[in-house]
């Protein structure tokens, strides 16, 4: 299969600033790889016989997005979402590589389950799926999983998902064991006791609304403990979904100290704060909770200074019944795969940074955290000659309104419902094949 994409504005995000190729570019793709980039209008490649040409007329062409946390809800929660629906939501959102946490039912703590999931995903023409294995059996925080076996089955790292690790000794041993084999551990820092029962950021708003709070110290105390264990073990750790300025300050200091750590934030935390909860709107119930305005400002500053390596969607489809409950009983989670790009573009505009620089946080940044070795050297998250042709083609200025009906994901809950946002993916390529093309005239 040979494909030419004509007249694209090519963006190449990288860890520093990224750059946009001047003018318009033609991309030549064959056998799933990008063969060459040529200035638009230059002479056809000798002997090149394209099976298909797509003229994108000045739309932006960038690497497919890499999402470090998307719950697909299989196995076990098929009433919330299915692999089919969520893989489709991913490519509609331009996400071509995604990592799923192990908090399925059963938990991803056995190689057979991981193989089954990968096999099911391969059968669908969607994003590339990289599961995280459970760090402990059943995420119970007691018994270590067979990490080496799980890696052979396809796990790219190990995680407790949102289940806090109460027993520090088990965490120490898990890190020692992972370090033995060089596996990366992905941890969501939240103290098992301080966060217990909390449903909102512990602050004036939670006090006023009579909601029990998750204090910032639930994050910082867990981080302090984990950082001490990393100093002792030398284990490589990725911190998932930080929420507070104080937590980010600890990560910043740890990086300066030279500890092998990285971190991400959920994309909605770039925009939403606790005050936005309004009158108990359960669409705003997420884990970790939306924090204060100064935390949001700290998140934005930490993205620019490099403390935060990646932005994830933290896509968590929840069924209507689980959201149509009083705030404290509603299930945390929001749909986000299809909002990842527009919400990052919104941040880029507000922070006045070039799109290619912002895109680094959802392309090469997260790809580096997964590791090119785990990605099988595919070049996911990059756009280069000889690299894999996982691409998304988008219009950064196209306005659309987020509505339940406009989402492909089975999760229909988001703080952004009703908002008009800019930026929409029109075509997604996975391994040089069109996995998604928005039909013309489909407005929303």
């Amino acid at each position: 299969m040979k494909l030419v994409i004509r007249n694209g504005r090519v963006l190449r995000p990288d860890h520093q600033h990224g750059f946009a190729l001047p003018g318009l570019t033609d991309l030549y793709i064959a056998d799933g790889l990008i063969v060459t980039l040529q200035p638009a209008g230059s002479a056809a490649l000798p002997g090149w016989q394209a099976d298909r040409e797509i003229d994108v007329r000045g739309q932006m062409v960038a690497p497919g997005l890499v999402d470090l946390s998307a719950r697909l809800r299989e196995p076990g929660y098929e009433y919330r979402a299915t692999l089919e629906s969520e893989m489709q939501a991913a490519i509609v959102g331009g996400v071509t590589t995604l990592v799923c946490p192990p908090d399925t039912d059963p938990v991803l703590d056995e190689p057979g389950l991981v193989e089954m999931l990968k096999h099911r995903a391969r059968g669908l023409a969607g994003a590339r799926l990289f599961p995280l294995g459970a760090l402990t059996v059943g995420l119970q925080g007691e018994v270590l999983t067979e990490m080496a076996e799980l890696v052979e089955a396809g796990c790219v790292g190990f995680s407790q998902a949102n289940s806090p690790m109460g027993d520090t000794q088990v965490l120490l041993r898990a890190l020692q064991y992972a370090k033995t084999f060089g596996f990366k551990v992905w941890l969501h820092p939240q103290d098992a006791f301080l966060g217990r029962g909390g449903v909102a950021h512990a602050g004036p708003l939670a006090s006023r609304m009579g909601l029990s709070g998750v204090p910032v110290i639930a994050e910082t105390i867990a981080l302090q403990t984990m950082l001490e264990l990393i100093r002792v073990t030398g284990a490589r750790v990725h911190f998932c979904r930080l929420s507070s300025g104080a937590g980010l300050a600890l990560v910043r200091a740890a990086k300066r100290e030279g500890l092998p750590v990285s971190c991400d934030v959920a994309v909605h935390h770039l925009h939403v704060i606790d005050q936005d909860i309004g009158w108990f709107d359960s669409n705003h119930r997420v884990d970790p909770p939306f924090r204060a305005q100064r935390d949001r400002e700290a998140i934005r500053a930490s993205l620019l200074d490099g403390t935060i390596d990646a932005i994830c969607s933290d896509h968590t489809p929840v069924d209507d019944d689980a959201k149509a409950l009083p705030y404290g009983e509603a299930e945390p989670g929001t749909t986000a795969l299809e909002l990842l790009l527009p919400l990052v573009l919104k941040w880029a505009r507000e922070a006045a940074i070039p799109i290619e620089r912002a895109l680094a946080k959802i392309t090469c940044g997260p790809a580096a955290i997964i590791g090119q070795e785990q990605l099988a050297g595919s070049g996911a998250g990059e756009l280069r000659e000889g690299g894999v042709a996982d691409l998304m083609i988008f219009d950064p200025d196209l306005l659309w309104t987020v509505q339940r009906e406009s989402l492909v994901s089975q999760g229909r809950h988001s703080p952004f419902l009703g908002y008009e946002i800019a930026g929409r993916v029109n075509t997604t390529l996975v391994a040089g094949l069109c996995a998604f093309e928005r039909s013309k005239g489909a407005a929303n």
Partner: protein, 319 residues
């Protein structure tokens, strides 16, 4: 996005009573004035007005309550409404029916007004918004939601204060005890600050005071003697049994010694200070019997005024 307060309709009328937070001063004063007129009805031999004749009021108590439910029932009956008491905790909720299914079913029985108590903060908002979305012309009155608010209690407390003190704008009011878990305290803070009380104090140990009280216009005191100095109104809060022992407080005895209202501590307040309590009281835990039964206590007046306030709220919302 700017959203209307869910208890106000597009004409600015009070459609539901969900919280005091955001309720305009004029609206609070209207409730107090209306209650004043209704108070006379309670003294007549024939204690009925035809205001809500033919209307159905459903008392939905997902959490147990005697006093609040009874006073709402009396208030609705004095306005000639048909009252139905549902003890939900014993029926559908325990059979696994969802909150909104219960509401839809009751709405189908042609209810006009729901009086709701629920253990979860915000539950009455969920119900009111659900009914509004379904286009149901049913009013919701919050009779206590979790730790959030208990608006009619704050209104009857404001009524009581106005009755005894006349003017809000010269007062010092102290709330004493478990503010953290108290919906009464939250509603009172909003009502008092809205009505122009210049000094609202919260007194209690740090374990029972939520963070951010200052942002609600409240001065925080840990020393009860200091906090009671020159106050005109003392509102004692109930300490739930399950909070008396554990990580919040070591014992009821120690609590009483530090924060129980005794005659000796009452003497620190202004000489004509009144003592209030939303009930039910724990004598010997938050309040000494000598004070509860003493001349400065207005606790039983609160109960009487409570009926008039609830009549006023029902009348304003549903008539």
């Amino acid at each position: 996005m700017i959203r209307r307060h869910p208890q106000i309709d597009s004409q600015g009328r009070l459609r539901h009573l969900l919280c005091i937070d955001g309720l305009p001063k004029a609206m609070i004063e209207r409730v107090l004035d209306t209650a004043s007129a209704f108070l006379d009805v309670s003294d007549r031999t024939v204690k009925k007005l035809p205001l809500l004749r033919g209307r159905s009021v459903f008392n939905l108590f997902f959490e147990n309550s005697t006093r609040t439910r009874t006073t709402f029932e009396i208030a609705a009956q004095r306005l000639s409404a048909d009252v139905f008491n549902l003890n939900i905790s014993a029926s559908s909720a325990s059979k696994g029916e969802s909150l909104l299914d219960t509401i839809d079913n009751l709405a189908a029985m042609n209810a006009d007004l729901f009086v709701v108590r629920h253990a979860q903060s915000g539950a009455p908002f969920l119900m009111a918004q659900h009914l509004d979305r379904r286009g149901k012309d049913i009013h919701v009155i919050n009779a206590g939601d979790g730790r959030h608010e208990h608006p009619t209690q704050a209104l009857l407390d404001a009524y009581t204060i106005r009755h005894f003190k006349k003017d809000f704008t010269q007062l010092r009011v102290a709330l004493v005890g478990d503010i953290l878990h108290s919906r009464v305290a939250r509603s009172n803070i909003h009502a008092l600050t809205t009505l122009g009380v210049p000094e609202v104090r919260a007194i209690g140990p740090a374990t029972l005071l939520p963070g951010g009280l200052e942002a609600m216009g409240v001065q925080v005191f840990h020393d009860m003697r200091e906090g009671l100095r020159d106050v005109d109104v003392i509102i004692m809060l109930r300490l739930q049994n399950e909070r008396m022992r554990g990580a919040l407080l070591p014992s009821a005895q120690e609590y009483f010694k530090q924060y129980g209202l005794t005659e000796e501590k009452l003497a620190i307040a202004a000489p004509d200070a009144i003592v209030m309590h939303p009930g039910p009281m724990n004598r010997g835990v938050e309040i000494d019997s000598a004070v509860a039964d003493g001349p400065q206590a207005v606790i039983l007046s609160q109960v009487t005024f409570g009926i008039a306030i609830r009549m006023a709220v029902l009348g304003i919302i549903a008539a």
